[in-house]
Structure formats: structure tokens, C-alpha cells
Amino acid sequence: MRNGPCALLVPVLLAMAGCVTPPPAKDYTEFNRSHPRSILVLPPINESTDVNASYSLLSCTTRPLAELGYYVLPVAMVDGYLKENGLTVPAEMHQAPLAKLREVFGADAVLYITIEKYGSKYQILATTTFVYARARMVDGRTGTTIWEGQVQIANAGDSSSSLQEALLKAILSQVLNKVTDQAHQVASMAAYQLLTTPGQGLPNGPLQPEIATAK
């Protein structure tokens, strides 16, 4: 490789990758005791300044959860229902009594997400896109916390990507930013990482065929 912007990026990416040490696997005792089949994902509370953040991340949660083997209540419809019933913003929805949510939606578990950072920071060499979020899942009947997680992704160079992949994404990020919604793409990655990382996200659910047949 000739000396150029790429040569500068390599140490930066190496440093980024080096910062991430995997935390120990979570304790799934409460989760397994609750054994949810269906999950109600409430629209995330948005602490960032980007007005699209909440619905961007919300729309990215169905696929990873469903592919793990859970039924996910239709997210936009749930939001519409809650709004029509007087809960106009996510913060109000998160305050809704669990018994009421249980009565209307009948979900085994409720997922509460808070977005801490969301958006892009424009720099000379590359645009960094941040999606930071934390999440808590409670048993739909008892309110017991059965899972908690967090995710912090800066740009597309997350820890699970190969260096080469991260490098290519960094090179192209400014090009991509012009034509696509980079933050939404990163939100999609964040949802996957938050919910499906082995030992950190959720275990496979009952709608997985191999789990259903093993019973």
C-alpha cells in the first residue's frame, strides 16, 4: 500500500479494535426462569439530538429478535396504539403500568431501550457515526429484570468486523454518507450486536425450530 490516507487509518483502526475487551458472559438464570416467547419492544427513549433515532433503532429490533426465535409484537402498530391512547412520547410509554401493557399486548417480556448517542460526526478523514444504547428486559407479569445489555458502536468499525472490512468501510464512509442513511445502518448493526452477541445478548428463543422440536 502506498502512503496515503489508508496508511494513516490502519493504526487508528487497530487502536479502536484494541480497546474492546469482551465482558464475561451474562447470568441467564432469571431469563431462563421467565422463558419468554413474545416480546413487546417499546419505542426507545431518545437522549440524542437526532429526532429519527428512536424509530430508526426501533425498526431494527424486530429482525434480530425474531431470528433468535421470539415473537415480536408489530413495533409501529404498538407505537400507534399507545399514541392513540394518550401516550405520545417514548418516555411516557416507558412509564405505562406493566399490568396495563400485559392486558393490552399480552407479551411475556417487555424491552425498554434508551438511546444515549445517535448520529454522525464529520471529520477530515472519515465520518464517525455513533449509536450508543442501553436496554433492559422485564418479565411481562412480574416486572423482574431478566436481561440487561448495552451497545456502543462508533462508525462501522465495530469489534466484530475484520480489520480489512473496517478499513474499507472507513474509506468509503464519506461516499456512502452522501447516498445512504449511515446512522440507520449503524443502528441496525447496533441492534444485532446488542441483542444477539453470544453470552451478552438473548439466548435462542422458543420459536427456533430446533428448540421447538427438542421439547
Partner: protein
């Protein structure tokens, strides 16, 4: 710029490899529809969303795959917004049949006297 072309090609190859090895469901327009309905409501009107979701149903059938959880329910919700209550009811029932986990919410909506 010279380094950018191979990089572009490599990115296409790399992103082609990112698809999960297998999926439980067919994922078409549903995730994007639920996002764009908020960010571009003028473009992704209920009737445009209906078309996109019907496309998903046809594509899933052609691929002999199952539609994702929530698709029929969301479609029913859109029909209800468009005043097509018979179609809405049909889609809600379809969601319930495919995913019995949806029954409490669907029954709550179909319960007479409860407005969607």
C-alpha cells in the same frame, strides 16, 4: 482515487458475505417500511406501505419462506387506517393463525367497542 476502485469492488464482495447463513423468515420491505413511515411519511403513506407489504407476502410465497412476525398485523393496521375493515380483520386473523403469541393484542383490537 486509484485505491478506491478495488476497495469498492472488495466492499461489494465483503457485504455479499454478510448475509446470515439461514433465516427463519423472509425479510423484505417490512423493516424499512416501519422506519420510513416515520422519517418520510409523505412518501410512505399507508397505501404505499400496503403495496410494499403485499410485495413481501408474494416474494415470501415464491421463496417458500415464512413472512416475518408482525407483517400481517401491520398490514391489517394499514387497512384499518384506510377504512378497509374487512381486509384489516382478515390480516389480523392471519397474524393470529401464524403466530398465536399475537392473540391477546389482536383479540383486544377485534373486541367490539375497542377502537384501533
Amino acid at each position: 482515487m486509484k485505491t478506491l476502485l478495488p476497495a469498492l469492488f472488495a466492499l461489494v464482495v465483503v457485504s455479499g458475505c454478510q448475509a446470515p447463513p439461514r433465516t427463519l423468515y423472509y425479510w423484505g420491505n417490512y423493516p424499512a417500511v416501519t422506519y420510513l413511515a416515520y422519517t418520510q411519511p409523505d412518501k410512505f403513506t399507508p397505501s404505499v406501505q400496503v403495496d410494499k407489504l403485499l410485495e413481501d407476502i408474494h416474494q415470501a410465497a415464491a421463496a417458500q419462506a415464512r413472512v416475518n412476525p408482525g407483517l400481517h398485523a401491520h398490514l391489517g393496521y394499514l387497512y384499518a387506517q384506510l377504512g378497509q375493515t374487512d381486509l384489516a380483520r382478515k390480516e389480523f386473523e392471519a397474524e393470529k393463525e401464524l403466530f398465536p403469541e399475537s392473540a391477546p393484542f389482536i383479540d383486544h383490537l377485534l373486541n367490539p367497542g375497542k377502537k384501533l
